[in-house]
């Protein structure tokens, strides 16, 4: 063996050892339906350029943004001088000094050594820029919710060395204005949904023989949301048919808490009360309606043109507006919204801020017999008015009529 060959072997061994060093992060065992997006993103990130490339992945909670980022990260992390996956940024930033901790992790993961303690966020920004700007790095900033989080961790492209790649995942498309490419993660297709669900419920790609119909019911309910498919799959796993039926029935009345908790983060992070109200109005009354119509009705309620609010809800994947202006919402987000209203007063529909079911509305109205008498009871009146806008035909009234009541300012 000559000198070259022995050097060659040494280099290969070094490379293999480096590759075996687990830089990669743990990814969920069964990933279904993410390949096209992973390929598209990998393809873009592979572009041979010394520019810093930034891609953004957005979509509703539980749709699989982080999983996609993890898979891409694992594919690429070995090709860079340094790599770092900053997970759950929004959650971590809420701790005291959270952003500083994230800055420290970024420096530590990339430089592979303990750095000086960072005294504050501004100092951290300077340090990151100075230490990393010559390194070719791969950084994932996962679940960003506010601009200040981005500023603290990747203020400018020049913070990272030539050829670096950054992946941002967020529920808020608005934060991705400055990135090179954005990718929206869509719901899983039906067959993919069934496959993912089956992995969690049966440990197989297909449902067990006696469970095909029940599985289809659950898959319908989940509307292609991986989070829901995984949670419900695991929760039904190992249970007999009778219990499956009970659970499915229950789900139709009471949404699963674990799923709701995660979806609710998007609702809670809506910046102001009006935005939240707009979301709740849509969840209760306006799904399937035309945007212009909804804007008109909402304007009467809130007193300003809600166009921007609708845009924000859409950027955060809470609603979708199709090419014809029709507004839609994921069933589970709708259920989350309606559950919030339901919880205002579980036993008394009349005490809730919105009523969307015909029976509830009639019950409430019958109790008061004469509508005008309850004008002073603000909540009830609002119920009636909303009800009219959604079931106008059955009440034989007009929107204008409804909203002139609203003008009375109770």
């Amino acid at each position: 063996m000559d000198r070259h060959e022995s050097k060659f072997i040494q280099e290969i061994v070094k490379d293999v050892l480096n590759k075996l060093d687990p830089k990669h992060i743990n990814v969920a065992t069964h990933l279904v339906g993410i390949d096209p997006l992973v390929l598209a993103i990998s393809d873009f990130l592979s572009t041979a350029t010394d520019e810093v490339c930034i891609v953004g992945i957005h979509g509703m909670p539980g749709i699989g943004k982080t999983s996609i980022a993890k898979v891409v990260f694992n594919q690429f992390c070995y090709r860079f001088e340094g790599s770092c996956f900053l997970s759950n940024i929004n959650e971590t930033s809420e701790q005291s000094n959270g952003l500083v901790l994230l800055q420290e992790q970024l420096l530590h993961d990339i430089l592979k050594q303990n750095t000086v303690n960072i005294s504050n966020v501004v100092r951290g920004m300077v340090l990151i820029k100075e230490r990393i700007c010559h390194k070719r790095v791969l950084v994932v900033v996962d679940d960003v919710a506010h601009q200040n989080q981005l500023n603290a961790l990747m203020g400018e492209r020049s913070w990272f060395g030539p050829g670096s790649r950054v992946i941002i995942t967020t529920k808020d498309e608005h934060l991705l204005l400055k990135v090179d490419r954005t990718y929206r993660v869509e719901e899983l297709k039906r067959d993919e949904s069934l496959q993912l669900f089956s992995w969690h419920a049966f440990g197989d790609t297909k449902p067990a023989k006696d469970y095909v119909e029940l599985s289809n019911d659950v898959v319908d309910y989940c509307g292609g949301l991986p989070l829901a498919l995984e949670v419900l799959g695991s929760c039904l796993s190992g249970k007999n048919r009778a219990r499956w039926k009970c659970l499915i029935d229950k789900l139709r009345k009471i949404p699963n808490r674990e799923i709701q908790k995660k979806l609710r983060i998007s609702f809670d992070s809506l910046d102001d009360h009006e935005l939240q109200n707009t979301f709740l109005d849509i969840a209760c009354f306006f799904i399937g309606r035309n945007k212009e119509y909804v804007a008109k009705v909402l304007e009467a309620r809130c007193g300003y043109n809600p166009e921007d609010d609708l845009g924000t809800l859409s950027e955060r994947s809470l609603i979708k507006v199709d090419a014809f202006g029709k507004i839609s919402m994921h069933d589970l987000l709708r259920d989350m919204g309606r559950d919030i209203i339901h919880k205002e007063s579980p036993g008394h529909p009349g005490k809730r801020s919105r009523i969307w079911q015909r029976e509830d509305a009639w019950n409430v109205l019958n109790k008061h017999m004469v509508i005008t008498k309850c004008l002073h009871k603000s909540k009830i009146m609002q119920v009636y008015l909303y009800f009219q806008t959604s079931c106008i035909h059955s009440l034989g009234s007009s929107i204008e009529f409804c909203w002139c009541f609203r003008e009375r300012k109770w």
Partner: protein, 181 residues
């Protein structure tokens, strides 16, 4: 019910490296040295010891070893493409890599140019010419596998001799992906 395999905890007895090579070309020399170097470095390496005649299909045992290895090191040498066994093994390796997201394939170009592998020119052209007569169906699959493998970032002995330490091609030249925007 099958237990889902996890990328986090690998099965016991799984290998770090699966070493794929053309035995007749370099079993006793380069690959031997490479294997020894791996073992000395504590890298758990699978090397196909079995030189006795065998069928065309990859055995279960081998299939498992490929699947469970973290890295497949493929040593491309002049005679690589003349072995149908090697080509089938390569197809298997790439399939496994494309199924699992965290598996790495590291090609080593031993005294052969990566473009010969990619485009099946030079010694590979001759071998393919022979295969085409008898195995028309398989040839396409092999050719695709070689193209894919030749595009992966790896190590080239000739680069080393020319004084370059590292041959890195960042990405496959084409990925049949769709841009989703």
């Amino acid at each position: 019910m099958t237990e889902p395999e996890s990328s986090g905890s690998r099965p016991k007895g799984a290998y770090d490296v699966f070493l794929s090579f053309r035995g007749e070309d370099n079993r006793k020399t380069f690959t031997d040295h490479l294997y020894t170097a791996f073992v000395q470095a504590g890298i758990h390496t699978f090397r196909d010891q079995n030189e006795i005649p065998r069928g065309e299909e990859i055995s279960k045992h081998l299939h498992k070893a490929i699947q469970e290895s973290k890295i497949s090191v493929v040593v491309f040498s002049k005679g690589y493409a003349s072995s149908r066994w090697c080509l089938n093994e390569l197809v298997e390796i790439l399939e496994s890599k494309n199924r699992k997201t965290d598996q790495i394939v590291l090609p080593i170009f031993y005294d052969i140019d990566p473009s010969e592998v990619r485009k099946q020119t030079g010694s590979f052209a001759k071998a393919f010419h022979r295969h085409e007569e008898a195995f028309t169906e398989k040839v396409k699959e092999w050719s695709k596998a070689l193209e894919e493998a030749g595009n992966l970032s790896g190590w080239n002995l000739n680069d080393m001799e020319n004084g370059y330490a590292f041959s890195l091609q960042d990405s496959p030249a084409h990925i049949d992906g769709v841009i989703i925007h």
